[in-house]
C-alpha cells in the first residue's frame, strides 16, 4: 500500500509504502491502510488537522459510488469491504474512493501528462492492461463501476488469445507485459535460429518483458518484431478508445513505458495509420509522467473534488 500527501497543485509532499499482507485479512488490511495514511502525513511534516480530504484507490471488483471493494482478485479473502466509510470513520475527513487505474488517470490528468487537456484516456501497461478515462475533470466511472476496462475490449475474433480474465481476444491478452513474455516464448518455439532471447532464457530459465524490450533495443530481430507487434496492438487499443470517446490525449503508463521514446513512436505511427484522419493527426499520444505516484495523486484529486469546486 502506498500513500502520500499531495498539495493543491498535485505535488506529492511525501510517499510511504507498507506491505499489504493480504493474508492477514481485511480488518488488518483496513488498519494497515489507515496506518499508511498516518505515516504519510507524518512524513510530510504535517498533522491530520492539515489534511482537507482523503482519497483511497484500490484494484478489483468494486462499487465506486458505494465506496466498497466487492471481490478483489489479489486480496482474497477480502469481500464487500466498506473502505470509504471505514477510512472516514477513523479520520473524520471527507474521503473519496476510486478504482486504482481510474485514480492513476485522474493523477495524470490533474498533475501529469494530461495537465493541459480537457479529456484523456490512460492505458496502464503492467502484468495486465488497465484503463482510466477522465472527461472534463470527471472520472468516467460507468454505471456499474466498470468504466474504462480498456484492457478487456475485444480486438480479435478469428484466433483470439485467452486473457487472464478468462475471456478471449482481449487487448490485455496481446499487449500486457505477461502477454509479451508469452508471445516471446511462442516465437522462440516457432522460429529456430539464434536470438538474444533464447540465450537469456537458457541462462536465467525465464524471460521478462524488459528482456524483450532491451533485446529489441540492442538489435535482436525476433525481439524487435515482438515489440513492433506490441506497439500495433496498443495502437488498436488507442484507436478504439479514440473512436469511442475521442479524447484530447491518450496516455500510456506502467512498467512497459521503460521501453522509452522509440516504442512510443511506433505506437504513434500505428495510430496514424489506423485511426480516422482527424483524430489520427490531432490526438496527442504520450507517456505518463508521474510513475507509481499517479495512483495516490489521482486519489488525492478525487478527495479534493469533495471539498473544492474544481480540480
Amino acid at each position: 500500500m502506498k500513500a502520500g500527501v499531495v498539495d493543491d497543485a498535485g505535488r506529492p509532499l511525501s510517499a510511504v509504502s507498507l506491505p499489504t499482507e493480504a493474508h492477514r485479512g481485511q480488518e488488518f488490511g483496513l488498519e494497515r491502510m489507515c496506518e499508511t495514511i498516518r505515516q504519510a502525513v507524518t512524513a510530510a511534516g504535517l498533522q491530520l488537522s492539515d489534511i482537507a480530504a482523503i482519497g483511497v484507490a484500490t484494484p478489483g471488483l468494486m462499487d465506486i459510488p458505494g465506496g466498497m471493494i466487492l471481490d478483489p482478485p489479489n486480496l482474497r479473502p477480502w469481500k464487500n469491504v466498506p473502505v470509504r466509510d471505514h477510512v472516514y470513520r477513523v479520520f473524520g475527513i471527507p474521503t473519496a474512493f476510486q478504482n486504482d487505474a481510474n485514480a492513476a488517470a485522474m493523477g495524470e490528468y490533474w498533475a501529469g501528462a494530461g495537465k493541459e487537456v480537457a479529456s484523456m484516456a490512460l492505458f496502464t501497461l503492467g502484468t495486465g492492461v488497465g484503463g482510466g478515462i477522465v472527461i472534463e475533470g470527471k472520472v468516467l466511472e460507468g454505471r456499474h463501476s466498470h468504466g474504462a476496462e480498456l484492457g478487456h475490449t475485444k480486438i480479435e475474433m478469428t484466433r483470439p488469445r485467452q486473457c487472464g480474465c478468462g475471456r478471449f481476444g482481449c487487448l490485455e491478452a496481446y499487449a500486457s507485459a505477461t502477454a509479451v513474455v508469452k508471445r516471446a516464448h511462442e516465437a522462440l518455439n516457432e522460429i529456430p535460429g539464434p536470438s538474444t532471447l533464447r540465450d537469456l532464457l537458457q541462462r536465467f530459465g525465464e524471460l521478462t518483458a524488459r528482456d524483450v524490450f532491451q533485446a529489441a533495443a540492442n538489435g535482436d530481430e525476433l525481439a524487435a518484431r515482438l515489440v513492433e507487434e506490441t506497439a500495433y496492438y496498443l495502437a488498436i487499443g488507442a484507436m478504439n478508445v479514440m473512436h469511442t470517446i475521442d479524447p484530447d490525449m491518450v496516455v500510456f503508463g506502467g512498467g512497459m513505458t521503460a521501453a522509452g521514446e522509440p516504442f512510443l513512436q511506433r505506437i504513434r505511427a500505428h495510430v496514424r495509420e489506423l485511426a480516422f484522419p482527424v483524430p489520427a493527426e490531432n490526438t496527442e499520444i504520450r507517456y505518463a509522467q508521474l510513475g507509481t505516484d499517479a495512483g495516490f495523486i489521482g486519489a488525492a484529486a478525487c478527495g479534493r473534488q469533495l471539498v473544492v469546486k474544481n480540480v
Copy 2:
C-alpha cells in the same frame, strides 16, 4: 431532409421530408434545409415565433462546436458549410448543430428507449453502423467531433474484412446491412446446397439484409447462421462500449431492428457471455423506439439545451 416540431416532452408535432438534391450544391441545400424547417412549423399549425430553439443534425465529417459540415460523403461537392450560423441568420432562433447519429442517440435518450436512464450508447444499423453516446444529458461529441464512431472500432486483426471507410476489421464491415448482404453472397459461394437465399438471388438478381433476416425467421439454415453471426458481432460492439464507458443501456436502432425480438435476444445472449459479469447482468440492451424520428427529436433536444437548464 426531415424536419419536425417537437414539444417540451420530446413528442413530435409534425414531420416533413423534402429531397436533398445534393447535386444542386450547398447554397440550394441550405435553403432547402430552411424550407423544410418552415414547412415543419406550418405542418404543426404553429408560427416561427412559437419555436424556442432549432437543432440541425447532418452526417459526415464535421466540426460540431463550430457548427460546420466539413466534408460530407453523401453531399459532395459540399465543403466547409457553416450550417448552424446560416440557419441562425435565417431564423434568428438559437440553433444547435449535431452529428446525425449523435442526435439519434440524444432523441432516444430524451424521449425513447433511454428515457429513464442516465447514460446510453446507441448503435444505428443501416448501410453502415453509426454510433452515439449520451452521458448525463450530454452528447459525447469528443475533442475532434469523432465521439462514438462505434462502427469503426476494430474487432478483428487476423482476417479483417475491409470496411466502407477503407480501413480493415471495423465492426461496420461485419455488422452493417451491407456487410450482412456481402457475407450472404460469400456464404452462398462457399456452401453448396439449397437455400431460400439462393432462390431469392436467382429470382431477383440481388439480396437485401431484410431477405436474410426473413429467410432466417422462416427457418433457412444458412440465413439463420448469418443472423446469429451478426448478433455476435453486434454483441462484441456492445461489450466493447460497455467496457469503455459502461453505460446504463445499449440501444440498437436503424433498419435492421426490423428483425425483431428474436434477434435482440441473440444479441443479449452473446453480451451475457462476452462481457464482465456485472455489466453483462445489469446493462440493459434494447431496441430504439423512435424510428426515423429519433434524429430530429434529438436535434430538437440539442436545441432545447441552448435555452433550458435541463433536458
